[in-house]
Symmetry: C2
């Protein structure tokens, strides 16, 4: 096991009516909030009403910044930063899924910074301070509610890049599984793929795989994500399955499932970010396409040991190939494409995708050349 630090200060309030607790918590940080949300689904499922009520009850004035879209964009972040500065907001409340929370984080960082917020994403500046952030999660997937990272796309440069730093941990995140009961099957499925993707990156690129405890935790979360999703797809109103899925996805990227693995590589994410940056496809869909191809590459370059171990523990699979097939089977059950063609992405685009991915690969210092990325993508045709 490699040395590690673990520190996660986020306070989680989980369960029915959790949303009503965000007002009193936010009031400890300030009296004027920028309320960030998406396309309005929170107005249909009651989350908007619950959030604005608790903020009003707690004496917090609200400036709205709606309109976050999936694969959130820096232009919209910049508008939010401008608004937060102009209105002297002293805290951010983000109500939605990972895109909304990531936008909230980017605005929280940008509001305390004189330069362009994109500086944090392209490596020009580090996030030193941020406005306090409070989140109400509506879509289990990215884990952003309990970590200090965020991902935003620059539409002009076609870059989907990440920023982060301890200042971006939410102060409090409220997670009400009931808010996810109306999530369509497709979104629930993509969320499950995303959560699984987060735990496999560390597991399969660990510098040190003699790590009984973290391996067991990864297996546990994977089994939970898969079992919960299967129950949700069968009965979308299964509260306990929604709850297990929600907490699993949060834990999947809160730092716990990588403890002791050493330096790990988010290579599947680096490749997927190119897909969503260019084609604006759902992150979960892109990951379901990339992962099987990358597993095949991993099997050839790193051998079968990790696939065998994960496959046996999570899928009851009898070998590495069977493990890859089991992943694909689950992704299909979850309603996700598993080949580029299923997302209408032509094989001829592979060099362009690989070239785009190289941006992140270089930024993250991953040990890959463009030719290797093209080889991986060729397995996804």
């Amino acid at each position: 096991m490699q040395n590690f630090n673990f520190s996660n200060p986020v306070k989680i309030i989980f369960g029915r009516d959790a949303i009503s607790k965000i007002g009193p918590e936010a009031a400890k940080a300030g009296k004027k909030a920028l309320l960030v949300y998406g396309g309005g689904s929170i107005k249909k499922n009651g989350v908007y009403a619950a959030v604005t009520k608790t903020l009003a009850d707690s004496g917090i004035a609200v400036v709205e910044h709606p309109g976050v879209k999936p694969n959130p964009v820096i232009a919209h972040v910049r508008e939010g930063v401008k608004k937060a500065k102009a209105e002297n907001c002293t805290l951010i409340v983000a109500a939605g899924g990972g895109s909304v929370i990531d936008t909230g984080k980017a605005i929280a960082a940008g509001a305390n910074y004189d330069g362009d917020t994109w500086d944090f994403f392209c490596g020009k500046a580090a996030v030193r301070t941020a406005l306090p952030l409070f989140t109400a999660l509506t879509l289990p997937a990215t884990g952003s509610e309990m970590n200090s990272g965020c991902v935003v796309t620059n539409e002009e440069t076609k870059q989907k890049y990440a920023a982060g730093g301890p200042a971006l941990f939410p102060r409090v995140s409220v997670l009400d599984p009931a808010a996810t009961l109306t999530l369509p099957a497709r979104q629930a499925g993509y969320g499950a793929v995303d959560a699984l993707a987060h735990i496999i990156e560390g597991y399969f690129t660990a510098q040190d795989a003699d790590n009984i405890v973290t391996d067991e935790i990864v297996h546990a979360l994977a089994r939970s994500i898969i079992a919960s999703t299967r129950r949700i797809l069968k009965d979308p109103e299964d509260y306990d399955a929604r709850a297990s899925m929600m907490w699993s996805a949060t834990l999947a990227l809160n730092g716990l499932p990588v403890c002791g693995y050493g330096e790990i590589q988010f290579i599947n994410h680096a490749i997927e970010h190119a897909l969503s940056a260019i084609y604006d496809i759902a992150h979960g869909a892109g990951l379901a396409i990339v992962m099987p191809a990358w597993f095949k590459h991993h099997l050839r370059t790193a051998g079968p040991a990790r696939l065998e171990k994960f496959g046996a523990a999570v899928f009851g699979a009898g070998g590495a190939q069977e493990a890859i097939t089991a992943f694909e089977t689950f992704f299909k059950e979850a309603g996700a494409p598993v080949r580029l063609s299923e997302a209408a992405i032509p094989a001829a685009d592979i060099p362009r995708i690989a070239e785009n991915a190289m941006g992140l690969i270089r930024l993250w210092s991953l040990p890959h050349q463009q030719r290797e990325i093209e080889e991986i993508l060729a397995r996804a045709v």
Copy 2:
């Protein structure tokens, strides 16, 4: 799944040479530390030298408070409180196992309080503030390094009671598995029993057992504790097994393995505390005696479902009885007694033990009568 809050602000620094990091961290909190430790084993294994060096290098003056014994006592805590107040210590550094860290917490609370520190344990006062606490762990078992509770014995009243509160979370805990390489097999074994005991209390007394994710996490930690211990007993110098055991025991009582179970009952601990309070036996030994008896009681009163599920997932057991046997087998492997007689405790003492346990049972509002505790203990003869 029941509603829950999760918040754990402890910063963990884990791995080789982690101890050298405690000085710079502690220096953020103050310049004069009360250094709490035990019977001197840390002087043999290099931990004392490493802690005092990093504290000195960071400009922190040290007042020593050695002599913590297993089942730490309030008299020794009171001496520490007196010393911390007299010397104007502004922080506590605890270097040792759970007894040392618990003593450090009790002193940290007492140093900021005008009354008697036992008030926090018998329910007379709540811990509102405490001196900042830093810990260097040497014995994986109690999880005290990442939670906000502590257990101390009052020798006069024969009460082994607990206190806690958010102020008692350590600021930073440093965990170096290398510091555990010289731990005797018996202590490693008792530590494993204790860590297992922490996760079974919630699992078997959950108000709501439809909780895929937390069940999976409990299974994962149990498997890790058992597998790590078996490797350690075979090769005490197996660093990676020591590391997995250390992190597993920390996670076993940091709040994670109970999320969503609702109100849980530490009934095995309540009974065991009576054993150590009266006979001063090791906590792990007492738990290994109580748990099989309690499982048999649980099987009769609550049915086989949870034992079957846990047994299948952790031991590959084919039923509830087989699961209980597998627990006993592991406790024996770990070198622990599994019957009162093996610890030279006469069956005739059962009423007295049960009467003592009722103190905590009433304080914790557990739904048990003395007759029931006597019945459980009768299964441990």
